[in-house]
């Protein structure tokens, strides 16, 4: 049976280990994003949002909920991968896997599953928190679920690349601080790019997070600044490209094998 195969047992082991770790340190993994997003809802959605009025045909609070959920999914799937994989590398216990018969693809899939689990878990908690501030009607369930899942995979893979190249803890903070956060804030979480001048709209379209946030917003609200087909294509291209890079790096042993 497939479930008895060594490959499946190896994958399952990594996933159980990751999920157990995430749940064991829930005060670090689940609570902080819930508190941060609650503050966003209160300050941006409730206090400032009332003065802004409508955006994209919805009240401001409803408009920012998909963006904030997506922001938490992105940061948590990325953060889980980079901290867990780099932690294993730094503590040398990654060697437990490297000396085992586990194929690299299984190591990659196991860690990605763990990171996606945390991203989706935090996304679910933030969605739950948002219900205290607004009513959510899901416009297209399939789009909503597939976009959030695929986006979590994209950022889990990106986190793996960061972790592979990182040599010290500072290195795992640079990308989230100087790349991920600016791209997320400029990715249409808080505004519709239709408010921007033409030039900045074009610039914004070079930001992949814009497609993910807007596709997710389409799934929930039914409105988007970009085509859903294009959004899925962008996400798909990133998954294939980042997945290939990750696997190549693992196969070559970059940052892992001397």
């Amino acid at each position: 049976m497939f479930r008895d195969s060594p490959t499946w047992i190896g994958y399952e082991t990594i996933v159980i280990k990751e999920v157990t770790r995430i749940l064991r340190i829930w005060v670090q993994t689940i609570v902080p994003p819930a508190i941060t997003m609650s503050l966003y809802f209160i300050i941006f959605g409730n206090l400032i949002g009332r003065r802004i009025g409508e955006m994209g045909g919805f009240d401001y609070m409803s408009f920012i909920v998909p963006g904030l959920v997506m922001m938490s999914v992105i940061t948590n799937s990325y953060g889980n991968m980079v901290s867990s994989f780099f932690g294993a590398k730094f503590g040398k216990h990654i060697e437990e896997m490297l000396v085992s018969p586990l194929p690299n693809i299984v190591i990659l899939l196991g860690y990605v599953t763990g990171a996606v689990f945390r991203g989706l878990l935090v996304g679910t908690v933030v969605t739950g928190v948002s219900l205290f501030f607004t009513d959510l009607q899901i416009h297209d369930f399939a789009v909503t679920v597939s976009v959030v899942l695929l986006t979590a995979i994209v950022f889990a893979l990106a986190g793996m690349i960061n972790a592979i190249f990182a040599r010290k803890f500072d290195d795992i903070a640079i990308i989230p601080t100087f790349v991920l956060t600016p791209l997320t804030y400029l990715g249409g979480v808080f505004y519709s790019i239709s408010l921007l001048p033409e030039f900045w709209q074009t610039v914004s379209r070079a930001n992949p997070i814009l497609y993910m946030v807007n596709a997710f917003r389409y799934g929930i609200l039914g409105t988007s600044d970009v085509s859903i087909g294009v959004a899925f294509s962008v996400i798909g291209v990133f998954i294939v490209a980042l997945g290939t890079i990750c696997l190549t790096l693992l196969n070559r042993g970059v940052g892992l094998r001397t």
Binding site: I9, G91, M97, V99, P101, T258
Partner: protein
């Protein structure tokens, strides 16, 4: 069958340091094999390549006929590694560390639990199974790494200085355990700085220096190469000067202690007779150094001083 077969193994690090320079080495199934060498000789690089933690520059390695480059998974499934440094997650419990390791080797969970219980009991870690592993003593951490390496019942077990820094009592209990594993059929390769350990445990030995094998023979053969042994003699009374006895090199350590190099061809009775005639009464005698240690030093000295800093392996 060969448990390990290494042919023309070379490793040059990115900084240009040549750690292995064409190593050929084979270890027969069931052997208890010692790999000795000074710091920086290439021992850990060699073990790193065999366990796939280090990429080789050239050559080939086969574990029970499985090529580690072409059949990595099959080769690794037959190999267990106890590394020199602690490399488990110190925030996890021994039980979880071992069960997870079993999973990486595809051991079903129920079977892993049974085996984990057996190993933790055998290695006297059962009572500590739910403690944080960082709270374990140094000796317990070493034993935990042995249990972890044995969870998938490997055919070849490699131990990289397993007893470094542990007290003599634990060291001896580890020797007994490793010997038991070997008697049960597991091929064991041991690197150690304690040459007494190699002499007591191992049947065959290879000495590596400057990235090449300078000696590869049985421990018995190696010791038979020792043509002079140095003994320390404790005397009953003070003496003013070291006596001169033909064929023996004698030096004074202090007024009541002599160091005498005894050629293997000369009977030791003759030395005692000569000492007696010189009016010297011997209370006790002992080897100055472990026999293997003397040979090791000679072989390593013969191969010359290191060319690179000794921090590559």
């Amino acid at each position: 069958m060969k448990a390990l077969d290494i042919q023309g193994l070379e490793k040059t690090y990115a900084n240009g340091v040549r750690a292995l320079d064409g190593v050929d080495l084979s270890v027969e199934e069931g052997d208890f094999f010692a790999l000795l060498g000074p710091n920086g000789a290439g021992k850990s690089t060699l073990i790193g390549i065999v366990s796939s933690l280090v990429n080789m520059s050239a050559g080939g390695v086969r574990v029970f006929d499985a090529d580690i480059a072409r059949e990595r998974s099959r080769a690794m499934s037959m190999l267990g590694l106890v590394p020199q440094e602690v490399n488990f997650n110190q925030f996890e419990r021994p039980w979880d560390i071992i069960i997870n390791q079993a999973g990486y080797y595809g051991v079903p969970r129920r079977q892993a639990k049974e085996r984990c219980e057996m190993l933790l009991n055998e290695l006297k870690l059962w009572d500590k199974r739910m403690d944080l592993s960082r709270e374990l003593s140094g000796g317990m951490k070493r034993r935990l790494m042995i249990a972890r390496a044995m969870i998938h019942d490997p055919r070849l077990l490699i131990l990289d200085e397993p007893t470094a820094g542990v007290d003599i009592e634990i060291r001896r209990s580890m020797w007994r355990y490793i010997s038991k594993i070997n008697e049960a059929g597991t091929t064991v390769i041991l690197t150690t700085h304690y040459l007494e350990e190699a002499e007591q445990l191992c049947r065959n030995v290879a000495i590596i220096d400057h990235g090449t094998i300078v000696e590869n023979t049985t421990v018995k053969n190696l010791i038979s190469q020792l043509d002079v042994e140095t003994f320390v003699f404790d005397l009953a009374e003070d003496i003013a000067a070291a006596p001169t006895i033909e064929d023996y090199e004698i030096s004074m350590r202090d007024a009541r202690t002599l160091e005498i190099s005894v050629p293997k061809t000369r009977p030791i009775n003759q030395l005692f007779d000569a000492l007696g005639q010189a009016g010297i009464t011997v209370l006790s005698m002992r080897n100055k150094a472990n026999r293997l240690e003397e040979l090791f030093i000679r072989l390593v000295e013969k191969s010359g001083p290191p060319e690179e800093p000794a921090d590559v392996s």
